[in-house]
């Protein structure tokens, strides 16, 4: 059962990192214009 003491916090930490990344992206306006971002990536060649 000792492994739980490491694995459970590790799993939670990974989850929290993903959550933090999502919240950062949201705050940073990454979800403001999903349609435009999808097209913009194709045209950045010049």
């Amino acid at each position: 059962m000792d492994s739980l003491l490491i694995l459970v916090p590790a799993a939670l930490l990974l989850g929290l990192i993903a959550l933090a990344a999502f919240l950062w992206a949201l705050r940073n306006g990454q979800y403001d214009d999903p349609d435009g971002a999808a097209g913009r990536i194709l045209f950045d060649d010049e």
């Binding site: 059962m1 739980l4 459970v8 799993a11 939670l12 989850g15 929290l16 993903a18 959550l19 999502f22 919240l23 949201l26 979800y31 403001d32 214009d33 999903p34 349609d35 435009g36 999808a38 097209g39 913009r40 194709l42 045209f43 010049e46």
Partner: protein, 790 residues
């Protein structure tokens, strides 16, 4: 990039005729012409000079739009920040593909003064920031317009900001709840699989406390939208769906904490968090549907806001925002311009299109002393108008007030989900309370055991599927209609449209296209071709209608336009009766152009508004669906009778004022009919608001579109039928969904009352019922059955 690439033409298309290199319109001119007009040529030159010619390839099968000159003065809309920077938000019509985003951003970035140019495809918004005074605005915006986009000031930034914040908060709550739900569920699965005795008591208690450590902060954060709404409702003495949700979730947390503390087997942390997660999905979908509708209305409003040209005392002209006009100002109203205020003509002769104001299809001629109203369009020469009423006192504002009065009546409509919720909440509370008392008093359980069972009842009855039942259907239906060119503006629109049994149509612009078309029977084909060639030089609506009638007419050379009179080429004249030297204008309610050539009798071209191409079929389809159809118009009886006959409508009334239309709708409502009003003019706006549901075409006046529940695009009337079909199917699905959700509750509640619902059972029941409801909604399909008409 080489010059050869710059001038590369769009990929050759199937059409044999040559197309304009910018807007793709078929060319009528000489063989070596590349552009349809000077505007397109200069747009192409600007793009080529900036080395952005790749734009045309990236458009793929789309085309750029033909540039139209800028009419609005943008400087008043500019916000100045510190450090000499100015900011402007624009709504850009025509910004609808990734290539357009790329072109605008790249081109504006070439200007060193512009420090930020960011185009949003989803909202068609362009944010500009530049170094320099606010008066540079029109130079920058003019560039956007010169490319064929139609920019308009986007003045509702503050409102949009509030909307964004709300949607973002919901999304953040959703993310937190999703994270917590997944992790608590992971721990719960371990606990459940340990129920056979393989998990020790100490480990289980540890897992319960771990779950609590994740769930409690998450619920405190993600539950705020529900708690807030519940507190608001309770303090107003009402109850809503959020009250049982809040009580259920809070109680589940307290009871579960107690269970964990005393080392018992069952804790409901997973149920509480998962519940919030599902509810937040429903809430977010609902929020987004409403947000999109509000966004659409704002876009329409922004496009309609323009400036008026005021002549100051010294004779100089200034541009002023329409809402800043004063009584007594003298306005210069150019040809084609829409009037921003009521007034009296002080100088000039012209014709005004009053279709939006009165519904009348024949232009009125105006002369000094004539009264004109906001919303009229000047068809002829420039006139000077003295403002007699501006802003809140205009006829337009009067109509808006009528609309508001009518809308108050409609706001009494309560969506089916709210009706269900009102009845549902008290029943749930009562059941839980009775369960608690029953187990304690009759069953002889200790209070904490009884509370646990009562909590299970609250959790299992929590309206998870109920909360998803309506928004999911609305999202699916809205997406499907959007693909057919229909925009739903009101969240309850579908529900009201599904119930209608009577359709009232307006004539001008609704049943008809609302633009003049040449009436057939011109015997002299040669003369028609010659007149069309001359007409092709003008942008006057009648001249354009004439040019449309002869598709391959090339613009004739050497044509001089006399504003308000007509066109002249050598001794040949095309224009009004007076201009062509014809004594008496024929009086048959039709707009006309005269064509006078030397030594030959003058020829008359008559124009009339034409029904939409599929009007008859669409009316027949409406009747097929058991709806009665009626035509109400502000136009003259002759024109209305003719249009009604052509479209196959038996019942019609003519010469109705806006108030009379509302009266007629009131009479229908008193008969118990549920009326769908389809209209486009300002005079229809009050009627649209008074009807139980309303639709207007995208060409309608802005105030009208705001009033309507849905807006459809294109020349076809078929979208009206499509809306009704989708609404009826969506309504069936909503009822099925509510039925499914209630059925699930009916079968699960007895189990919960008996105390048989463990956290595992609750989790399975909750997820499966939600999935069932979502799956059922998806049956509506996102693709229209027939091919879309655009």
């Amino acid at each position: 990039m080489t010059n050869a690439v710059l001038l590369a033409r769009p990929a050759p298309r199937a059409a044999p005729r040559k197309a304009c290199a910018h807007c793709g319109e078929a060319l009528r001119g000489t063989a070596d012409a590349e552009f349809c007009c000077a505007g397109c040529a200069s747009a192409h030159a600007i793009i080529g000079a900036a080395g952005l010619g790749a734009f045309y390839r990236r458009l793929e099968d789309r085309h750029a739009q033909r540039p139209v000159p800028l009419e609005t003065e943008f400087a008043p809309y500019v916000r100045t920040t510190g450090a000499g920077e100015a900011e402007l938000d624009l709504l850009v019509d025509g910004l609808d593909c990734a290539a357009c985003v790329w072109l605008l951003e790249s081109l504006l970035a070439r200007n060193p003064a512009i420090t930020r140019a960011r185009a949003h495809l989803s909202t068609r918004r362009l944010s500009l920031r530049w170094q320099g005074p606010a008066t540079d605005a029109n130079a920058h915006v003019g560039l956007v317009a010169a490319l064929g986009f139609r920019p308009a000031p986007y003045d509702a930034v503050k409102v949009a900001g509030d909307d964004d914040r709300e949607a973002r908060e919901l999304l953040r709550c959703l993310a937190v709840a999703g994270f917590a739900a997944a992790n608590v569920m992971l721990l719960s699965v371990a606990i459940w699989s340990g129920h056979d005795g393989s998990m020790g008591d100490a480990t289980r208690t540890l897992f319960h406390f771990l779950s609590a450590a994740i769930a409690l902060p998450a619920i405190a954060y993600a539950g705020r939208p529900f708690f807030r709404s519940a507190v608001t409702a309770l303090s107003a003495g009402r109850t809503n769906m959020d009250v049982p949700i809040s009580i259920g979730v809070t109680l589940a947390c307290i009871v579960s904490l107690h269970e964990a503390w005393v080392g018992q087997h069952h804790a409901y942390f997973d149920s509480a968090v998962t519940l919030l997660f599902f509810l937040l999905i429903g809430r977010y979908l609902d929020r987004r549907a409403r947000g999109r509708a509000r966004q659409a209305v704002r876009a329409l409003l922004a496009l309609s806001s323009r400036s008026a040209t005021v002549i100051e005392e010294g004779g100089a002209t200034v541009q002023r925002r329409v809402d800043q006009l004063n009584v007594g100002d003298i306005l210069l109203v150019a040809a084609g311009e829409r009037l921003g205020a009521d007034g009296v003509v002080v100088d000039g002769h012209s014709a005004m299109d009053a279709a939006l104001v009165s519904g009348e299809s024949v232009p009125q001629s105006v002369e000094p002393g004539a009264k004109v109203f906001a919303g009229m369009v000047n068809l002829g020469a420039a006139v000077r108008v003295q403002v007699t009423a501006a802003g809140k006192n205009t006829l337009l504002a009067e109509i808006v007030r009528l609309v508001e009065a009518a809308e108050r009546g409609r706001s009494r409509f309560v969506a089916i989900a709210d009706r269900v919720a009102r009845a549902y909440a008290p029943v749930v509370h009562l059941t839980a309370l009775l369960t608690f008392l029953g187990w304690m008093v009759l069953g002889g359980l200790p209070w904490d055991r009884a509370l646990l069972v009562a909590t299970a009842v609250l959790i299992i009855t929590c309206p998870c599927a109920l909360a998803l039942a309506v928004p999911v259907v609305q999202v699916v239906a809205g997406t499907r209609l959007l693909r057919s060119g229909v925009l739903l503006l009101s969240p309850t629109a579908l529900e009201r449209m599904a119930r209608i049994d009577h359709v009232v149509l307006d004539k001008t612009g609704t049943l008809t296209l609302g633009r003049p078309e040449l009436v057939a029977a011109v015997a002299d084909v040669e003369a028609l071709a010659e007149a069309a060639a001359i007409a092709a030089n003008s942008r006057h609506p009648l001249a354009q209608a004439l040019a449309r009638a002869v598709p391959d007419a090339a613009p004739a050379e050497g044509v001089i336009e006399h504003p308000g009179l007509g066109l002249q080429r050598a001794d040949t004249r095309l224009g009004s009766a007076r201009f062509c030297g014809v004594a008496s204008a024929a009086d048959d309610d039709r707009s006309e152009l005269w064509f006078a050539r030397p030594d030959r009798p003058p020829l008359r071209f008559a124009f009339a508004d034409r029904p939409r191409p599929d009007a008859r079929a669409a009316i027949a389809a409406l009747k097929e669906r058991g709806l009665t159809v009626e035509l109400l118009s502000g136009d003259r009886p002759g024109a209305v009778a003719h249009a009604a006959h052509e479209a196959g409508i038996e019942r019609w009334q003519a010469e109705l004022s806006p108030a009379a239309k509302v009266g007629r709708l009131g009479a229908l409502a008193a008969e118990g009919r549920r009326v769908l009003m389809v209209g486009d003019g300002l005079n229809d706006a009050p009627a649209l608001a008074a009807a139980s549901a309303s639709i207007s075409p995208a060409t309608a006046a802005e105030a009208t579109q705001n009033t309507a529940d849905a807006v459809f695009q294109g020349d076809a009337l078929k979208p009206v039928v499509e809306i009704i079909d989708v609404a009826r199917r969506a309504d069936r699905l909503v009822r099925q969904n509510l039925g499914l959700a209630l059925l699930y509750n009916l079968s699960a509640v007895p189990l919960a009352i008996l105390g048989a619902v463990t956290p595992l059972v609750a989790a399975v029941a909750m997820s499966s019922s939600s999935l069932l409801v979502i799956g059922n909604a998806l049956r509506l399909g996102t693709r229209p059955q027939a091919k879309e008409v655009r």
